[in-house]
């Protein structure tokens, strides 16, 4: 043994992996299993109703996917940095309502349809940024734990959405409805924009300095600080980003439901967290692949829409989702077990 020259190699993890072991590692790869699950679920629905693989159903699937994917991505950024954001759902509600008022006002003051919708989008993102900033201040300045800080903004957002909207849907916007239903093939323009933003978020998380710092802070904030990373500033920026993505999702809801309803997005933080868990992201931070949450959102969307499609009462949806979360969590703890034994 070359202990003297190579002290670290000396007590390494033993002999190289056998081909069988390697195959087993690949087969238990969570991303691979998730992909099989997604394909399996789709085939299952198609067997029960052969129109499942049709353009109109896929268009709807992608619309629903686009309503869920940005807040799941936001949740992934926050959770991998070692936090949690419970306020994404209620931020959708409050931004969709405020955005709807803004568009109503602008269109009433002879702005064109398109400029009004564009400015409304900025208003939604701005509302999200404000909520994100409140989260950031509560966490980095008032030193609240993220769970409590975002629980505060969760309640605040839910309440304000009802107060602002007086409980009803704000605005009815035929222009938005028309615009949001155009596109080509199975894609609507809005869906394509959301997909483009999603790709950017995935790339930034995995190949940029910002993403690297995100994982480093979630893995060991002390090491990150000792390495010269401004941990507080990064953490604050993650919550603001999460707020902005939630605000933009509020705009997507506005387009898809042609108005700002205060119940839009309420409770969706749990779906986002479910997608993150199913996607194999560690809830204690530092670990996860963006492709995992994409598969997680896809599976949840397909299950949700598919149950409707095969005429199963939507009330069963949560039960089926619970099964998927349990399955994913068990897989994760099993693979963590193999890692420890290796």
């Amino acid at each position: 043994m070359s202990t003297v020259e190579t002290p670290v190699a000396a007590n390494n993890d033993g002999p190289p992996l056998s081909p069988l072991r390697r195959a087993a590692t690949f087969a238990t790869n969570q991303q691979f299993i998730l992909f099989l699950v997604l394909v399996g679920v789709m085939l299952f629905f198609d067997l029960h109703n052969s129109r499942f693989f049709g353009t109109s159903e896929f268009t709807n699937l992608l619309v629903d996917f686009s309503e869920a994917v940005l807040i799941a991505a936001a949740e992934m950024y926050v959770i991998t940095s070692g936090g949690i954001d419970l306020s994404v759902g209620s931020t959708i509600a409050v931004s969709t309502v405020v955005g709807a008022y803004a568009i109503q006002y602008l269109e009433g003051h002879h702005f064109g349809e398109f400029p009004s919708l564009l400015l409304g989008t900025f208003v939604c993102a701005g509302v999200g940024a404000v909520v994100g900033t409140i989260n950031a201040l509560l966490i980095t300045k008032a030193r609240l734990v993220p769970f409590v800080a975002t629980l505060v903004t969760l309640s605040m957002g839910e309440g304000l959405a009802l107060v602002f909207s007086k409980g009803g849907t704000v605005g009815y916007d035929p222009a938005a409805a028309v615009w949001s239903s155009t596109g080509f093939w199975i894609f609507r323009w809005l869906t394509l924009m959301v997909l483009a933003v999603t790709v950017v978020l995935g790339v930034v998380l995995h190949v940029s300095r910002y993403g690297r710092y995100n994982f480093a802070i979630g893995s060991n904030p002390f090491a990150a600080r000792a390495a010269g990373i401004n941990v507080n500033r990064h953490v604050a920026s993650v919550y603001v980003l999460s707020g902005i993505l939630s605000g933009l999702t509020g705009m997507i809801w506005y387009f898809n439901s042609s108005g700002g309803a205060p119940q839009n997005g309420i409770g969706n933080e749990l779906e986002a967290i479910a997608a993150v868990v199913i996607g194999g992201v560690s809830l204690v931070g530092g670990v996860g692949r963006f492709s995992g949450i994409i598969l997680g959102v896809a599976i949840l969307t397909v299950v949700h829409d598919g149950l409707v499609f095969i005429n199963v009462a939507t009330t069963w949806n949560e039960v089926v989702v619970a099964g998927f979360i349990a399955l994913a969590a068990i897989l994760q703890s099993l693979s963590a077990g193999t890692k420890r034994r290796a």
């Binding site: 020259e5 002290p7 670290v8 300095r209 994982f215 480093a216 990150a224 530092g286």
Partner: protein, 252 residues
């Protein structure tokens, strides 16, 4: 240690108090490139205060800190890092979920060339490759730098952490209890890395309670008691018994 040589690090009459508690009293010593200095003392002797002063976590109340011939006044740990001093604290260490290469370059990432680099894209391949090269220089051979730190043993982790400090330090590395919680064999790996860092021309300040390790790896030992330097002598002057006696004050 001949006095002809220019010390790389010199402390002159450093004093530090926390309120009414005097942590350091007139601490003075010189440290040279290419030597390992053991910094020992009982709990409360002032070891932590001293390394925090040298690494810029806090400022001394009075006294001079001279690095590479220049008097320094640190405003933050960044200043000491920029001047070539790397500190490895007990609990800061590495980010276990990142790869070895990512940890080595944490906070100092290499970016891709051209436009992509300006957009913040990282050159992961170069980082992994250079990390391997640099670690080999201090005698650490890691089979795959793509492995995450959590997959390494405790000794390997600490060796990589010290390798990281040695790679970035120009002058001094400060190691706070680097062999704590390690088994005998793993400690040996860490001590070898420390020797390799010295052979690279670095000055190593080694803080430890494990006296056999101090005696094995250091060239000189500075003993602190109640915030004062009570002994500064070559390691060959000590045995475990006399060193322990000096630390506790039973013999001086």
């Amino acid at each position: 240690m001949s006095d002809e040589r220019e010390p790389i690090l010199e402390l002159r009459n450093i004093n530090k108090s926390y309120g009414s508690v005097k942590a350091l009293t007139d601490v003075s010593f010189k440290a040279y490139a290419g030597e390992v200095i053991g910094l020992v003392g009982d709990n409360g002797a002032g070891k932590s205060s001293l390394i925090k002063t040298i690494s810029g976590v806090h400022s001394p109340d009075s006294g001079e800190l001279i690095v590479d011939g220049v008097a320094r006044h640190w405003k933050s740990p960044h200043d000491s890092m920029a001047a070539g001093i790397e500190t490895l604290y007990q609990d800061s260490g590495l980010a276990p979920d990142l790869t070895i290469g990512s940890n080595i370059f944490l906070g100092r990432e290499l970016e891709k060339k051209g436009v992509l680099g300006k957009l913040g894209f990282l050159d992961q391949r170069s980082m992994e490759r250079k990390a391997l090269e640099e670690l080999e220089k201090v005698g650490i051979t890691v089979p795959l730098s793509k492995r995450t730190v959590s997959q390494l043993s405790g000794g390997q982790r600490q060796a990589v952490a010290i390798g990281r400090a040695a790679m970035w330090a120009q002058h001094v590395i400060i190691l706070d209890e680097p062999t704590n919680h390690l088994g005998a064999r793993q400690s040996l790996e860490v001590l070898k890395v420390i020797s390799a860092a010295r052979d690279q021309g670095l000055c190593v300040l080694f803080i430890s309670h494990t006296l056999p390790h101090v005696l094995e790896v250091t060239d000189r030992i500075i003993v602190l008691r109640l915030g004062r330097v009570v002994k500064d002598a070559p390691t060959s002057d000590f045995t475990v018994e006399t060193l322990l006696g000096t630390i506790t004050g039973l013999n001086t």
